[in-house]
């Protein structure tokens, strides 16, 4: 199954291949052009996992440096963007693990929730125009809802729905089965819908605070 097409992420693949070959052949200037469409996405992937601006920026820089150094090893079996995001995700997850290892509390690996997820809210959504995202408070609210998810759900959702990776690519990047990706993705999407549905119905302007377990709208 392929990733959904999105006008935001359409790139000229032939041109990208050419740029990759140029860099591999020593024309290093082409690397800037090659990564330009993905700079923000790499940052976003790192931020979604670390939830820290400074870490995300550092990871984005490290990712691009690693990509430059390892570009000779890149094989066109996967998309360049997927390869890039995978480097960023690995770096971000490694950083999270190191940070947790420094904590006094013992680290507990998050487990998949048992049982099927049942939607809690059946508010009737109207179609939300994408212009809604021009509002900063809406973007913040979405980011807040995403941050409230457990790691295992957020990681899958970020790669699949924000980075537009396929189920298989997401599974490979996270080292889990495609079945796990689908299960976690379903739960992540439904949880986010439950958190956001009534707010996106138009009540955000009056109640913006999102407390754990409660809805601000």
């Amino acid at each position: 199954m392929g990733a959904p097409t999105s006008p935001n992420y359409q790139v000229d693949e032939a041109r990208e291949e050419l740029l990759i070959r140029c860099v591999q052949d020593g024309e290093h200037e082409a690397f800037y052009e090659l990564i330009r469409p993905y700079q923000r996405r790499v940052y976003a992937a790192a931020f979604a996992i670390t939830r820290n601006n400074a870490d995300a920026e550092d990871i984005a820089q490290e990712t691009m440096l690693k990509a430059f150094k390892k570009l000779r090893q890149f094989r066109a079996e996967s998309r360049f963007s997927t390869w890039l995001i995978q480097i960023a995700v690995n770096e971000a997850r490694m950083r999270n693990r190191r940070a947790r290892a420094r904590m006094v509390e013992p680290m507990v690996e998050e487990q998949d929730a048992e049982g099927n997820y049942v939607p809690r809210d059946f508010a009737d959504w109207r179609e939300i125009p994408s212009e809604t995202l021009e509002r900063k408070e809406v973007r913040e609210k979405l980011a807040e809802a995403l941050a409230s998810l457990g790691d295992i759900y957020r990681d899958v959702f970020v790669l699949r729905d924000m980075q537009h990776m396929s189920i298989e690519e997401t599974a490979k990047a996270l080292g889990i089965s495609t079945a796990s990706v689908k299960t976690r993705l379903l739960r992540a999407r439904l949880m986010l819908r439950d958190l956001l549905a009534p707010g996106l119905g138009g009540t955000w302007s009056t109640r913006l605070h999102l407390a754990k377990g409660t809805k601000p709208w």
Binding site: M1, Y32, A44, E57, Q61, L65, F122, S130, L142, M162
Partner: protein, 198 residues
């Protein structure tokens, strides 16, 4: 094939990804037409996917791209930085050497300095009365606490003292020495500024 609400919820993500078989899809389509709650869940989930998938969801810190490019530049073209650093160092060296040459040229009409650590006395007014001692190497303003051999002092004008190889005391003549250095820098900057304007 008929599906109930719970079955629909468990397949709704696959349905939106186009990852259900045709029979199940048809059954779910029928269910959505009849069930407002499941239709609401479907539309809401679709909205979630559309909104989070939009690039406008990505807020990067101000200056992010610039800092990234600069970091890459350091790795991809370290020689550029190295060359730039070399140019800066070379320019500084040339400037320092030039200052030294200008300072040296301004004392050409003097006697050999009595000390190898001597400072140029070019900034000292030549008619200014100063004191020197026979065994000393410096000339001083009268009353300077650093005068040695006070028993054998004589008073001369600064120009004469310089001709005899005396050099200014760096304490009591400090203000003239600073003026000396500034003049040397100005002498260097002058031709450079003219060059830029042409």
């Amino acid at each position: 094939m008929v599906v109930n609400c719970e079955q629909v919820w468990q397949e709704i993500s696959n349905y939106l990804d186009g990852d259900v078989n045709p029979n199940l899809r048809a059954a779910m389509d029928t269910h959505f037409q009849e069930c407002k709650r499941c239709k609401a869940v479907l539309e809401g989930t679709r909205n979630v996917i559309d909104l989070y998938g939009d690039e406008r969801m990505i807020d990067v810190p101000l200056g992010f791209e610039h800092r990234l490019e600069r970091r890459l530049e350091e790795t991809i073209h370290p020689s550029r930085r190295g060359f730039l650093g070399w140019m800066v160092a070379a320019t500084a060296a040339v400037l320092a050497a030039s200052i030294f040459e200008v300072a040296k040229s301004s004392v050409l009409n003097r006697g050999e300095p009595r000390s190898e650590h001597a400072q140029s006395g070019a900034g000292v007014p030549p008619n200014m009365m100063v004191v020197v001692s026979e065994e000393g190497k410096l000339f001083h303003a009268s009353g300077c606490p650093f005068i040695h051999d006070k028993a054998h002092l004589r008073t001369v004008v600064a120009g004469e003292a310089i001709k005899e190889g005396y050099t200014p005391c760096v304490r009591c003549m400090k203000k003239y020495l600073q003026a000396d250095l500034e003049q040397a820098v100005d002498d260097l900057a002058g031709p450079k500024a003219e060059h830029r304007s042409t």
